[in-house]
């Protein structure tokens, strides 16, 4: 077929039953001009080496399953065109995560960080149905909407030098999500979330490398969310010094 080329894929492999540490396997395959990196991995698994393990699902940059490091950069592989690369493409699991097998990372630690920011709407007293719906103006929606576009692909954790250096750090996506709820006009949980934000490994551990926002495939700005959360926490903290907070 026209436009077919050969490319060499250097893929990280790790079998927990046999390998002491991750190693690489090399596959040379013919690729189609419109393929994404994920298409090549699927081709290798289907036609060359069925033992290769990788995660993927939707193939349309919505599910957030197929994040991997391609030539050292965290990428959503279903969105990452092979035509952007040369003859050799290195595919490795996301950095900063323990590896379960080949390209599959352990995401349980990430999920725990997510839970820690209480990413749900908290209200002191649930409104009765007859009191009507919670209304929100377009401006109120704009305050947090972009932070709700995260698909939990974890590329930002792979890119973050602070996650690497300070493992306890909540991390970009979790803070952006917590900030999303703090900025939601329907929510009343700021005080609880800010306690987590101000704890060790919270927002102040971030040193604003901004790499999380650079690699985000959905153009969410997690680094902006973290800095905004810092500023709002400083204000919240200073207010707390002057005004003693009542019972929750």
């Amino acid at each position: 077929m026209e436009g077919e080329t050969k490319k060499t894929f250097v893929v990280t492999r790790f079998d927990p039953d046999q390998d002491e540490a991750p190693r690489t396997d090399t596959y040379e395959i013919t690729v189609q001009p419109d393929w994404k990196v994920l298409d090549a991995l699927n081709h290798i698994k289907d036609h060359v080496d069925p033992t290769l393990s990788h995660r993927w699902s939707c193939r349309m940059a919505v599910c957030g399953s197929c994040g991997m490091n391609v030539n050292g950069e965290p990428k959503l592989t279903c969105k990452d065109a092979l035509s952007d690369y040369g003859d050799t493409v290195e595919v490795a699991p996301l950095a900063n995560f323990p590896v379960i097998r080949d390209l599959v990372v352990e995401m349980e630690g990430f999920m725990e960080k997510f839970k820690a920011v209480k990413p749900w709407i908290m209200v002191a007293k649930e409104r009765a149905i007859e009191e009507g719906t919670y209304r929100q103006s377009p401006e109120e929606l704009d305050a947090f909407k972009q932070f709700s576009m995260c698909i939990n692909c974890m590329l930002c954790y792979s890119a973050c030098p602070v996650v690497s250096a300070e493992p306890d750090f909540l991390g970009p996506a979790a803070i952006a999500l917590g900030h999303r709820y703090n900025q939601d006009s329907r929510d009343e949980g700021n005080a609880e979330r800010n306690e987590v934000f101000r704890d060790d490994g919270g927002v102040f551990a971030c040193s604003f490398a901004n790499e999380c926002s650079e690699v985000c495939p959905k153009n969410v700005d997690p680094s902006g969310a973290v800095q905004q959360a810092k500023l709002l926490n400083v204000i919240d903290w200073a207010t707390g010094l002057v005004v003693s907070r009542g019972g929750k």
């Binding site: 602070v162 250096a165 101000r198 102040f204 040193s207 400083v234 903290w237 200073a238």
Partner: protein, 115 residues
């Protein structure tokens, strides 16, 4: 350290802002143009600079240029240290850097007040 993070971050942000605005001109004139003879010698004479520094606005500029940027610098350096694997020694390096910042700010306030 925990409860101090917000105040340190506030000083850090103010330090970057104030330092960014004030320090380049000071370093340029007193550190480069003066010593290389570009700036007129009489402009940098003791009496003239003393006069500028003891003016109320001059005192404020001196205080701002000493007491705030030092926090910006200390906090940045602490994080560079952590990024390069220094988390284990952060308990020592962080307080030392902030102590340098605190001592410099206090010394600056005293010096500017007494000038």
């Amino acid at each position: 350290m925990l409860k101090l993070e917000p105040i340190i971050w506030l000083l850090f942000g103010a330090g970057m802002m104030v330092g960014g605005l004030l320090l380049p001109a000071i370093v340029l004139v007193l550190g480069i143009a003066g010593p290389l003879g570009f700036a007129p010698a009489e402009a940098l004479s003791y009496e003239r600079i003393h006069g500028l520094a003891t003016n109320p606005i001059g005192r404020l500029v001196c205080l701002g240029a000493i007491a705030l940027p030092v926090w910006g610098g200390a906090h940045h350096l602490r994080h560079v240290w952590i990024d390069f694997g220094g988390l284990k020694t952060d308990g020592l390096v962080g307080p030392v850097l902030y102590a340098v910042a605190l001592v410099t700010s206090v010394a600056g306030a005293v010096a500017v007040f007494q000038l």
